[in-house]
């Protein structure tokens, strides 16, 4: 590979997934979606998961978030395995904004649910609208916003929920390439100032290399960790890196690994 792997500085991982398997039963048939997955993210680390379609990435995020339970294995968040629901921020590919709420009131949803008075919650959201490119749109309804802006409102809602771990399920999948590039840079900037642990699920190899500290490559179904690739590109990262040799070498390695899996997935008879 040619890069020096940085020693892990954290002692206890923020998020630890140990030996997780997940089977779904439908019509008497058992479909194994995840098979013995081990996964870790350190405090303040940016980790991505890539893999062929149907490799159980979203199922893994649902399990980490507490929306679903594993058939086997355990999830620990900051050393505790109990009550995951409400401890991890989870952002979906869809922005899931409530159409009857203004930008500001969508952003404060997490605080509101926690019982923070609306006026105080709004103040805190207002302080961040500029950072999120939403200044002047605080009282607009979601339908009047562009896709990128809507996604930033969803981000603001996620950040304001004040969790240490943020799960992102293809957050830029629905955006056009140019907007996606801007959003990735902007996300890195936010991450470096908020110091959260981020787990990003993506199909986009460029995106994974550009933002991550480490990349987990998953196999085709049933999803397992095929390999973990550390990304040693210096930070802060800018978009000019995308065309430079170290970036391209990493990308080639990941693409080769992914290609093997997608070929395997196509050859395998569908259970």
């Amino acid at each position: 590979m040619g890069y020096v792997v940085e020693p892990q500085t954290h002692t206890q991982p923020m998020l630890r997934v140990a030996g997780i398997s997940k089977d779904f039963v439908s019509g008497g048939q058992v479909l194994s979606v995840l098979n013995d997955v081990d996964f870790e993210a350190g405090r303040g680390e940016f980790v991505s998961i890539i893999g062929p379609s149907g490799c159980g990435k979203s199922t893994l995020l649902n399990i980490i978030a507490g929306l679903d339970d594993p058939s086997q294995g355990s999830v620990e968040i900051d050393g505790s395995g109990l009550h995951r629901l409400g401890r991890v921020a989870y952002m979906h590919q869809k922005d899931l904004l409530l159409p009857w709420r203004t930008v500001l009131d969508n952003a404060i949803l997490g605080l509101e649910v926690q019982g923070v008075p609306r006026s105080r919650a709004r103040e805190r959201a207002l302080a961040l609208t500029e950072r999120f490119g939403l200044k002047g749109f605080e009282h607009a309804y979601p339908f009047s916003l562009s896709g990128g802006m809507r996604q930033r409102v969803a981000f603001l809602r996620t950040i304001l929920s004040e969790r240490d771990v943020i799960l992102l399920d293809e957050p830029f999948g629905a955006l056009d390439a140019l907007t996606r590039g801007h959003m990735q840079e902007w996300l890195l900037d936010l991450w470096s100032s908020f110091g959260k642990t981020i787990v990003l699920v993506t199909h986009d190899v460029d995106e994974a290399v550009f933002v991550s500290d480490r990349i987990y490559v998953f196999t085709a179904r049933p999803g397992r960790v095929k390999t973990v690739v550390p990304v040693t590109l210096p930070r802060p990262r800018g978009y000019e890196m995308v065309t430079q040799a170290p970036f391209i070498a990493l990308k080639a390695e990941l693409l080769a690994s992914l290609r093997e899996e997608s070929v395997r997935a196509q050859d395998a008879p569908w259970q």
Binding site: G110, E185, S193
Partner: protein, 285 residues
């Protein structure tokens, strides 16, 4: 990890001005109104012409002008009876709304309740109201009460069915999003399910309010001493046909006004819903 603060990517969209109806749609809706006014005028004109041409007696089919004259001449009478009917409509509708919403909430929230009660709600609509109405006279007497019950029985159904659909039609991803924010079941219900159901509720209310007028007339038809339904019933045997028609005109004016009032209320209470719909319609055109 110090870093220069980057500006958020803002594609500088136009300021979030409320999306008003543009000139195009306004012209189109004006044309629509002019069209329906023309049709109404044509029908009335033809009616007047036919009555004059064939010299149809007023007790058989009164001309529109004769109905108009009767409305003006007996306005005190009409007003008195209209007030009675309006009371029945509003009270019955109010009962239907309260019961309908509570029932819908319970049906959507508790599967057991749904299985136990929903079949009866549907069955209640298969019993002809005209069969129940006379029985109500025996059970609760002759006054306002049986009319209110008839109105409520007719009006609660569209409210229940629509509201149940609305409460159930919530995006599952949205519910999961709320759960990951740490929301309780009650919070999901109040903050997501109820707002999602409101446009559905309003659809049901629009149907219900028009049914309410019909319900009041049925109630009066079966047995009453006042109200516009009663007035049509007693006018026909006396060959006061113009009076009967006058009552019908007022009844439909009442139905249309109540419908428009609900539509206006919907617009005021759910501004986001209407602008969103209009926006989509504009994008399609």
């Amino acid at each position: 990890m110090a870093m220069t603060q980057r500006e958020p990517p803002s594609p500088t969209p136009s300021p979030a001005a409320p999306v008003g109806p543009n000139k195009h749609t306004r012209v189109r809706s004006l044309r629509g109104w002019a069209g329906s006014a023309l049709v109404v005028a044509a029908v009335i004109g033809a009616w007047q012409g036919v009555v004059a041409l064939f010299d149809i007696p007023a007790w058989k089919l009164p001309a529109p002008s004769a109905i108009g004259a009767e409305l003006v001449a007996s306005r005190a009478l009409f007003l008195r009876h209209a007030w009675v009917t309006l009371q029945e409509v509003l009270l019955g509708f109010g009962v239907a709304l309260a019961l309908g919403v509570i029932l819908a909430g319970l049906i959507a929230s508790f599967p057991t309740f749904q299985r136990a009660v929903y079949p009866f709600v549907i069955a209640s609509q298969t019993v002809p109201i005209i069969v129940i109405a006379p029985l109500l006279l025996i059970w609760v007497g002759y006054g306002l009460a049986p009319k209110i019950i008839v109105v409520a029985l007719i009006a609660f159904f569209p409210i229940v069915v629509n509201t149940v659909d609305g409460l159930r039609g919530v995006d599952a991803d949205m519910v999961n999003m709320m759960r990951t924010l740490g929301a309780s079941r009650r919070q999901v219900f109040v903050k997501v399910q109820i707002p999602t159901a409101l446009p559905f509720l309003f659809s049901g209310v629009k149907v219900a309010i028009t049914f309410s007028v019909i319900g009041a007339v049925i109630g009066e038809w079966v047995g009453a001493s006042a109200g516009l339904g009663y007035l049509t019933r007693v006018s026909v045997p006396l060959f006061l046909t113009a009076r009967s028609f006058g009552a019908v005109v007022i009844l439909s004016a009442m139905g249309v006004s109540l419908f428009l009032a609900v539509a206006l209320l919907e617009r005021l209470l759910l501004p986001w819903y209407h602008t969103e719909r209009r926006q989509r319609a504009l994008e399609r055109s």
